[in-house]
């Protein structure tokens, strides 16, 4: 359950399971980080934790923004979780959004990790729906994703 699983492998292994649960589709999130940011503790903790809360996690691994956008589109995710420690989250998320726009899609993005106080504001202005700094509990992240997803679904129905 803590296995290292990459996007490409995922397709095959979960295809059947997905067919069964197509009626009650799980929330899907891509967790991704930049190749220059090797730290992976929070990223993997969150992956395991979100799965325990019934959210389907696609691990993108270390990806350049265009690679992350590609995976997000192929995997048809509901959210992208961008994990940052050493990089500039504002620049990197802006680039990721740009790559998504170029492909004509819009996917809600959450950012976690080390984010300077001023950057939190900048990320919100960019349209990032939430930022989670060190010390955030996993249930609070899972609950946020669920309620955001629910609101979005009901807005879409209306």
């Amino acid at each position: 359950m803590y296995g290292i699983k990459f996007a490409s492998e995922r397709n095959l292994s979960t295809l059947k399971a997905e067919e069964k649960t197509v009626m009650e589709k799980k929330i899907r999130i891509l967790l991704t980080r930049h190749p220059m940011d090797g730290h992976e503790a929070g990223y993997n903790i969150l992956a395991t934790g979100l799965r325990e809360h019934g959210i389907e996690v696609i691990l993108g691994g270390a990806q350049m923004p265009e690679e992350a956008a590609e995976t997000a589109i192929q995997e048809d995710v509901d959210f992208i979780g961008f994990r940052n420690m050493a990089g500039d989250p504002v620049y990197l998320v802006e680039t990721l959004m740009q790559k998504l726009r170029e492909r004509g899609v819009e996917i809600p993005i959450v950012v976690g990790g080390i984010i300077r106080p001023r950057e939190v504001e900048k990320l919100k202005n960019l349209g990032v729906i939430a930022t989670f700094g060190p010390g955030t509990s996993i249930p609070s992240i899972a609950n946020f994703l669920k309620s955001y997803h629910e609101k979005r679904q009901s807005a879409a129905v209306r």
Binding site: Y2, H39, E40, A41, I45, G61, A62, R116, P117, R118
Partner: protein
């Protein structure tokens, strides 16, 4: 060891004590249902001579400076050999970072862990104008490209006086040597360390392995250089327990020694220069026990398993740094207190070199005030607390001796498993260990989420976001890293314009042949970097010669995941 009669008396007294405990618990239950160390080792209420009765003082502990070095590597402890104060630092381009280094020297720093190199994060080096660095380079490190950067970084710094730390990839060491020799130093007297962890993940062969090449080269050419590096610290930050960290350090060192021996070197020719890097966390006694167990385990392995005869081969020198995740973003000033515990544990554990993290680290790249306060933490512990007066002051504590044994025992089980899987430098063992790491990290997080584990200011004693314990905090350095990135690209372009490019072409051809032949790459690298060829250019030749699998681009593979997670992140 204790005589039977005395032991019986103590056991009798213990029975009486247990009755007292039972009566106390009827009135006042204990606050928690179970008590463990940070590594989840269950601990008793109290320890007595009965728990350490089997210890043979001379065999298992000895005096400081005596085998198996449980009580310290050197006979007089810190009285004759103060630990190196080696704070991590970096800022801007090499010339800016040089100013920062000089400032820290003026404040009492005695060794460098400059976060500067061709790697910019201990990874495959590319040139600064490569898109992979956008949003990263210079944000928390100093990215360098050519010999010119090394010349500026160390300008005016006495290389025989300060212990420097050079990046993980051999290119950095080659540039350092070329710079030092240009300034008139001999490689025979240069002292410092390379972060060369022996591993066979991305480079699964011994022959031509860049990290083993470094160790072999330094063994023959640089008698005072610490090339063989055991890094348990970075993995600990990723979620290991102290016991797992201890096991990993010993196992990865042991397997690395075996790989270096395959080059036909005598164990006593390189083992004295093995050095190690561990973390120090908040559980003071467990950390002290860890360092004591580490020294004993390593000494016995080197002497008994590898047959080393030189006592210097038995002594493992240790550098420690604060455990990153123990610092919180909430109420960041509290981290100064945590840093003090770390410095104390390091001193009581008898380590050789210390870096304390800065209190604002969970929020941003360290500020200047953070850096200086971390240095001061070490200096106050050293000069004012009195812990440096006596060697191994906790030695003989029933608890600490029991815990030292216990940690050794628990770590040994993990080492046995890693050995069974083929050795900790190899992919099979690493894959298993990565799972262990992730499980431990998740277990700890869950304990915090459910308040089984209290973290002050995070899940207990919480204050509003703009609380009084944050008011002092960060100016948070609005350092213009993008301007520095631009500046470095211009510096690199200037070097490319001004160097003799026909020489660079010669260097590329020569390197290609050496990389193909898999002979030791160090001598060729040292010659090549003198032409001011850049690290990125060298790396391109390397990939051309050896294959496209090296580097961080493209498909994620298990090898890359492991390389990043266990060896390669900064």
């Amino acid at each position: 060891m204790m005589d039977e009669k005395e032991l019986e008396r103590i056991k009798e007294a213990r029975k009486e004590y247990d009755k007292l405990v039972a009566r106390e618990l009827e009135k006042n239950p204990e606050k928690k249902s179970e008590y463990t160390t940070d590594s989840w080792i269950p601990v008793d209420r109290v320890y007595s001579p009965a728990d350490v009765a089997h210890i043979d003082y001379v065999r298992d502990l000895g005096f400081p400076g005596q085998y198996p070095y449980t009580r310290g590597l050197f006979p007089c402890g810190y009285r004759t050999r103060a630990w190196n104060r080696r704070q991590v630092a970096a800022r801007g381009t090499a010339d800016e970072c040089n100013k920062l280094a000089k400032f820290l020297i003026s404040q009492g720093q005695t060794a460098f862990a400059l976060h500067a190199g061709t790697f910019a994060g201990k990874k495959t080096p590319w040139d600064t104008d490569d898109p992979i660095y956008l949003g990263h380079a210079f944000r928390h490190n100093t990215k360098m490209d050519t010999l010119a950067d090394f010349e500026e970084l160390y300008d005016g710094i006495d290389l025989e006086k300060f212990h420097v730390m050079v990046g993980a990839f051999p290119i950095d060491l080659a540039m350092f040597i070329a710079m030092a020799e240009k300034r008139g130093y001999s490689r025979k007297t240069l002292q410092g360390s390379s972060a060369a962890v022996v591993r066979l993940i991305l480079y699964p062969e011994n022959k031509g392995n860049p990290f083993i090449d470094m160790v072999e080269f330094c063994t023959k050419e640089m008698p005072y250089w610490n090339a063989f590096y055991i890094d348990a610290a970075n993995v600990r930050d990723g979620g290991l327990t102290a016991v797992q960290e201890l096991a990993w350090g010993v196992a990865v060192g042991k397997d690395g020694v075996r790989e270096v021996l395959k080059r036909g070197l005598d164990v006593d020719s390189f083992a004295p220069r093995i050095h190690s890097y561990f973390r120090v966390g908040n559980d003071l006694f467990e950390e002290v026990a860890k360092f004591r167990a580490l020294r004993r385990m390593w000494a016995r392995i080197m002497k008994e398993e590898f047959g080393a005869k030189d006592p210097r081969s038995w002594r493992l020198r240790v550098h420690v740094q604060s455990l990153g995740p123990s610092f919180t973003a909430q109420q960041p000033l509290n981290n100064l207190i945590r840093g003090t515990i770390h410095a104390l544990a390091a001193a009581l554990g008898g380590v050789q070199s210390v870096a304390i993290d800065t209190y604002d680290e969970a929020l941003s790249t360290p500020s200047d005030i953070g850096k200086v306060l971390a240095l001061r933490t070490q200096q106050i512990v050293e000069h004012e607390s009195g812990v440096t007066n006596v060697a191994d002051p906790l030695g003989g504590s029933y608890y600490v001796e029991w815990l030292t044994n216990k940690m050794e025992e628990e770590a040994q089980k993990i080492i046995d498993k890693l050995e069974e899987l083929g050795g900790a430098c190899k992919i099979k063992a690493c894959t298993w260990f990565l799972q262990q790491k992730r499980e431990a990290a998740y277990k700890r997080q869950k304990e915090i989420d459910t308040k089984k584990r209290i973290v002050v200011g995070v899940n207990e004693y919480v204050m509003d976001e703009k609380d009084m314990l944050s008011t002092f905090v960060p100016e948070v350095l609005d350092f213009d890293y993008k301007a520095m990135h631009q500046k470095q690209i211009e510096r690199l372009n200037k070097v490319r314009r001004e160097r003799d490019n026909s020489k660079v072409e010669w260097a590329k051809k020569m390197l290609y042949d050496v990389f193909r032949s898999k002979e030791n790459m160090m001598p060729a690298l040292i010659e090549a970097v003198k032409t001011y060829i850049s690290a990125g250019e060298i790396m391109k030749v390397f990939i051309e010669a050896r294959g496209p699998q090296y580097g961080l681009r493209g498909e994620n593979t298990l090898e890359k995941e492991i390389e990043l997670a266990l060896f390669n992140f900064d």
